[in-house]
Amino acid sequence: MSASSSDGLLSAVSNDLAAAVDTVGRSVVAIHARRRIPASGVVWQPGVVVAAHHTVQRDDDITVSLHDGSSVSATLAGRDPSTDLAVLRLADAAGAPPVAPAAEPPRVGQLVLALGRPGGSVTASLGIVSAVGGEWRTWQGGAIDRFVRLDLAVYDGFSGGPLVDAAGRVIGLNTSGLARATAVTVPASTVARVMGQLLARGHVARGWLGIATQPVRLPPALQRSLGSESDAGLVVVNVEPDSPADRGGVLIGDILVALDGRAVRDPGDVLAALGGEQIGHAVGLRIVRGGKAETVSVTVGERPRARR
């Protein structure tokens, strides 16, 4: 039974995939910060591990297992629930080489491996990129640079592990914490940005108005009298005392129809407009009060940390 040339090709592909797992697997660690099985993490720069926020269930007493079997204690540098990322600093960076991020964006159909280390050994699964889209917001308002959908099975303990191309470069970090029923890949560029903020400040600053809203439908007559193109708005159901909205004069019962000229129909639209870069800047809130439209100027504050 002699080996044919195409048999050699299959072995060559197999070896490439195993080599990619081996290379990146040295940077994939096990995070012991919850009960049950450990989760995964990735050494993103020397001495710094990025993990999935939802798997880091305690802030202290965190240990990390490296590829060589050694254990290193780690401290939490910060966490960003909105992108489900947490950053840990290792007490000893030796023996934990950082990964190399992929330079090119992922392509639909591309072969990819998801890696994890839910325990002692690195584990792998193979699939393809099934869709790539633009920037999107998580349900908690976190900005993710690119939407990446996978045809790939992810298993227990894979959250916090890397998505890897066949050349062993890291496309992003996989987590089951951002969508029901499916794994989401946080692209490497988003990981790097959030990691930088967490290392510098311990948290990701987000803009804050201090209002709670819920969607309402605008009656056609009101819509006509406002000259509004949108048939929906957000009724303010709470104003935090001494918040930016309170100081700007926003009242319970106001209907918010636009923020800085952009129509809002869903509370997520407000979150999306309040990135960290907005802090300290005035935004115009177009509101309907007593059947009349007016614009209120509010200086965006920083979301208090207890509120995350």
Binding site: M1, S4, S6, S14, L17, A18, S121, A124
Partner: protein, 207 residues
């Protein structure tokens, strides 16, 4: 380099290669029917009529075998080990083509795997996947070969092979979506023990 050397330089060859591995496995894979309820696959282990399957497939002392060439044979279940989920079947045949084997302990995560079996009764269906976790030396769950591959009932007892078509395990179960196989070295030990038992006692050890 998106598309740099795309447009079918490699994919047809890759597909052919998977097909060749599947065809090679098909020559050593059999149907096993023990009773009305259980049907699965088996692997020709020794050319003189020794076939390996799962204990949960061969749950009765006798089973019916269909060889790849269509011959139907009655088999005796000459050894069973539910703990390792292995059973040894003997048929009155010789000059069968036996499976080429490789030790699963040498596998690395990410290596390609091909499974062959009769999932949901579809005869000789192939599946492609990768090594999720290679078996370790320790006893317990770590001693099994874990594969990221889509299996179904009917794959039980069938071969899981490496990229060269060498059998590295016997597919045994699906746990949380992972294919779990008995690694070849465990099968070899089981077959060795069963054969020496048979020689010693000259009889059947079926439980």
């Amino acid at each position: 380099m998106p598309g740099a050397d795309g447009l079918l330089g490699a994919v047809p060859a890759l597909e052919r290669a998977v097909g060749e591995v599947a065809a090679r496995l098909a020559r050593v894979t059999v149907h096993v029917r023990a009773d009305a309820r259980s049907a699965g696959a088996g692997v020709v282990w020794l050319r003189d009529g020794v076939i390996v399957t799962n204990a949960h497939v061969a749950a009765t002392p006798r089973a019916d075998i269909v060889l790849p060439d269509g011959r139907e044979l009655a088999a005796r279940v000459t050894a069973r080990d539910p703990r390792r989920d292995l059973a040894l079947l003997t048929v009155a045949a010789s000059e069968l083509e036996a499976a080429l084997r490789a030790d699963a302990r040498g596998l690395r995560p990410g290596e390609l795997l091909v499974a062959l079996g009769h999932p949901f009764g579809v005869a000789y269906s192939a599946a492609l996947g990768v090594v999720h976790r290679a078996p370790s030396a320790v006893r317990g769950p770590g001693g099994w070969l874990h594969a990221d591959i889509r299996l179904a009932p009917g794959n039980s007892g069938g071969p899981l092979a490496d990229s060269s078509g060498r059998v590295v395990g016997i597919n045994a179960m699906i746990v949380n979506g992972l294919g779990i196989a008995v690694p070849t070295h465990v099968v070899e030990r089981f077959v060795r023990e069963a054969m020496s038992d048979r020689r010693r006692s000259g009889g059947v050890r079926a439980a």
